[in-house]
């Protein structure tokens, strides 16, 4: 049974390219386009990993991460940001910057 990953970003092209790339590497991928959607999807889908953008309209990545880590304390979540890692404060989540260093990201999620 392949691992399942939820990819969350309000940029649909970003979500689509990432879904395709992770599919290539054998992941089952699902997409969500906001923090709310991500929380709902995780509640119903129970994914193994979540890759989520920080800056999104409505419930942003930070707030969604806080809800998810409360609901699913053992769920590995990786946050993506166009800003610096240090700018994403008050989280214990792992953070990567855009444009993504994909090999490093694979190591982080598949290791």
């Amino acid at each position: 049974m392949s691992r399942r990953i939820l990819i969350v970003d309000d940029d649909r092209d970003m979500v689509r390219t990432l879904c395709d790339i992770f599919s290539l590497r054998g992941w089952d991928t699902d997409a969500a386009y906001s923090g709310d959607e991500a929380i709902k999807a995780q509640k119903t889908g129970g994914y193994d990993r979540v890759l989520m953008d920080v800056k999104m309209p409505g419930v942003d990545g930070i707030a969604a991460y806080k809800s998810l880590s409360r609901l699913f304390p053992k769920l590995p979540v990786v946050l993506m940001t166009a800003h610096r890692v240090a700018d994403v404060e008050h989280t214990s989540a792992r953070v990567v910057t855009k444009p993504l260093d994909l090999p490093a990201l694979f190591n982080m999620l598949e290791g």
Partner: protein, 598 residues
């Protein structure tokens, strides 16, 4: 200019001196002349009195002699015989006896025998004119004279003067002894001969005039010629008097004893005062000489004073007008010379102070301009940073999507033609380059608070040199005893990175050397100089290198040096271009020495 010269010492001093001399001479002359005139008049009065006394005495003697002579005639026996027995014989003898005696018989007019009623009984021979003169003469006082003669010692009395035409004459009456009913009347005229004048002039002097007449003011003569009486004045008192048409005289009056006559002795006032006038002329000449000499001396002195003062004033005006290098040259040893020296000292002081002020103003202006430029640069940088940050972050998203897409394509098109794979490679590299530019921009424009700490200059430079990826040669000359500096190591690193990468780029790929030299400036700073061997910065660009958005590079947005200078200043130091235009560039990075490291 006319107004100024009227008010100048050069004009006023000589005028004042002349006025003063004039005042002194005039006062002295006037006082002297007044005293002199009084003295001269006193002296003249004294002389007049003496002469008048002498004349009075002469008159008294002469009239006394006349009375005696008349008494002598009256005592002749022929006259008594005639009165006792009037007959032709006795009459002839009596007429012969009526002849004048004594000096100047020519002045005798007639000698008469008159009876008690005043009728002429007998008279000496006389011309018709003379007889007529006497006949018409006033005889009203004769009876009084008879009475007066009776009571006097010689037994004769002189009558008042009478005038008829130019002739002035008088009677002398004597009693005939033993004949109370008859008396002798001796008529004589006043002489006016040249001899008399000469005699009088010998006694009185040629300038003196002599008048005499009746004491009651009637019938006055000057040497026998009728004349106006003098001023009424008590005998012996000096008077001043002017007859109509004649000059003013100083005179003295006298009375002739036992007669009703008076006389007046007079000197012309101008003769008396002649020495005073001569003195006045002498004084005037002396005064004129004094005025000329004094005026010239005052003019020369005032010139000696006024010319240097004028020179000083012109110099003071020049200094007031801003020409503080103005000096005066007074080659003299007196107070004015010392004033000139003091003025020059003051002018030098003024010039020094002015120069000092100008320098201070220039320095402060420079500092102000620098601060203003620094502020403007910081504001511009903050704005640019803000913009760059917003745009940079936004660009990262599309770059991310593109990078993902290329990654996917390269993964699924592993079997594609080499050309397709090559093009995908080009896309990937350009996306990476783009991402790097954005990263660099964000890194440059990131404003972080200054966290200064003690850092060794050696460590700072070494760390940065190791990170440079370039084929250029690097030479570092950092003395080991250099004091540590107090800066934010991240900021200092950023500045150094910028300077080093600029230096490498300046050489434009040609072989060259980048030198880093450090030295303590001695006033609390370390100067870190970064030089390259490139062509340097042109004159045209020289003043703009620290302006934000200024760049000469094909790729670059012109923030590096502007940010570096801002960071250097924020850390208490500075950044400056110290090489000349068009010569290999050298930038000086000034860092403050850490406390206790000096």
């Amino acid at each position: 200019m006319g107004v100024i010269s009227r008010r100048s010492i050069r004009t006023k001093a000589p005028l004042a001196a002349v006025a003063l001399i004039l005042l002194v001479v005039a006062t002295l002359s006037t006082a002297s002349i007044v005293v002199l005139r009084r003295t001269l008049r006193d002296h003249a009065a004294e002389r007049l009195r003496t002469l008048a006394d002498q004349l009075g005495e002469t008159f008294r003697t002469n009239t006394a002699a006349l009375r005696v002579r008349t008494t002598g005639i009256a005592s002749r026996p022929e006259i008594a015989a005639y009165l006792v027995n009037p007959s032709a014989v006795s009459e002839a003898a009596a007429i012969a006896a009526l002849a004048p005696i004594g000096p100047q018989p020519e002045l005798s007019l007639a000698i008469e025998i008159r009876d008690q009623s005043g009728r002429v009984r007998l008279t000496s021979p006389a011309s018709a004119d003379t007889a007529k003169l006497i006949e018409q003469a006033d005889s009203s006082d004769l009876s009084g004279l008879v009475a007066a003669a009776s009571g006097s010692d010689p037994g004769a009395a002189l009558g008042r003067l009478r005038q008829s035409g130019d002739i002035i004459f008088y009677p002398t009456v004597a009693r005939i002894p033993g004949h109370a009913d008859a008396s002798i009347v001796n008529w004589r005229r006043i002489g006016n001969s040249a001899q008399a004048r000469t005699q009088l002039a010998r006694i009185l002097g040629s300038e003196a005039s002599f008048f005499f007449g009746n004491a009651d003011g009637t019938i006055w003569s000057e040497l026998g010629q009728p004349a106006l009486p003098p001023a009424a004045a008590p005998a012996g008192q000096v008077f001043e008097f002017t007859r109509p048409g004649r000059e003013t005289v100083i005179g003295v009056r006298g009375v002739i004893e036992s007669t009703s006559w008076a006389y007046s002795l007079e000197f012309p006032a101008h003769v008396v005062e002649a020495p005073a006038r001569a003195f006045m002329w002498t004084m005037s000449s002396i005064a004129a000489g004094c005025l000329i000499v004094g005026g010239l001396a005052a003019w020369w002195l005032s010139r000696r004073v006024a010319v240097p003062i004028e020179t000083l004033r012109e110099a003071a005006d020049a200094i007031a007008a801003g020409r503080t290098d103005q000096r005066v040259h007074l080659s003299r040893e007196d107070q004015l010379g010392r004033l000139g020296a003091a003025f020059n000292g003051m002018a030098a002081e003024v010039e020094a102070v002015r120069r000092h002020l100008e320098e201070a103003v220039e320095k402060r202006t420079g500092e102000l301009r620098s601060a203003q430029e620094s502020l403007a640069r910081r504001e511009k940088l903050a704005l640019i940073g803000h913009l760059a940050s917003g745009v940079g972050h936004e660009i990262r998203n599309p770059l991310g999507v593109m990078a993902n897409a290329v990654y996917y394509l390269e993964a699924v098109q592993a079997d594609a033609s080499p050309q397709v794979r090559q093009y995908l490679g080009i896309l990937r590299q350009q996306i990476q380059l783009c991402a790097k530019i954005v990263n660099d921009l964000l890194e440059l424009s990131r404003a972080t608070p200054v966290k200064r700490e003690r850092v060794g200059v050696n460590r700072l430079v070494d760390e940065r040199l190791q990170r440079i990826e370039s084929g250029a040669a690097f030479v570092a000359d950092i003395p080991h005893d250099l004091p540590a500096v107090a800066v934010d190591p991240v900021h200092a690193g950023q500045v150094l990175d910028n300077l080093l990468s600029n230096a490498v780029q300046a050489m434009n790929g040609t072989p060259g050397t980048v030198s880093v030299r450090a030295r303590a400036t001695g006033d609390g700073f370390v100067c870190l100089e970064v030089s390259d061997t490139g062509p340097g910065i042109s004159q045209e660009h020289f003043s703009k290198v620290f302006e934000p958005l200024f760049t000469t590079k094909a790729r670059g947005i012109g923030l590096g040096l502007a940010l570096s200078k801002s960071l250097a200043q924020a850390n208490g130091g500075d950044l400056a271009l110290v090489s000349a235009p068009d010569q290999s560039a050298t930038f000086a990075f000034i860092l403050p020495v850490a406390e206790g490291s000096a």
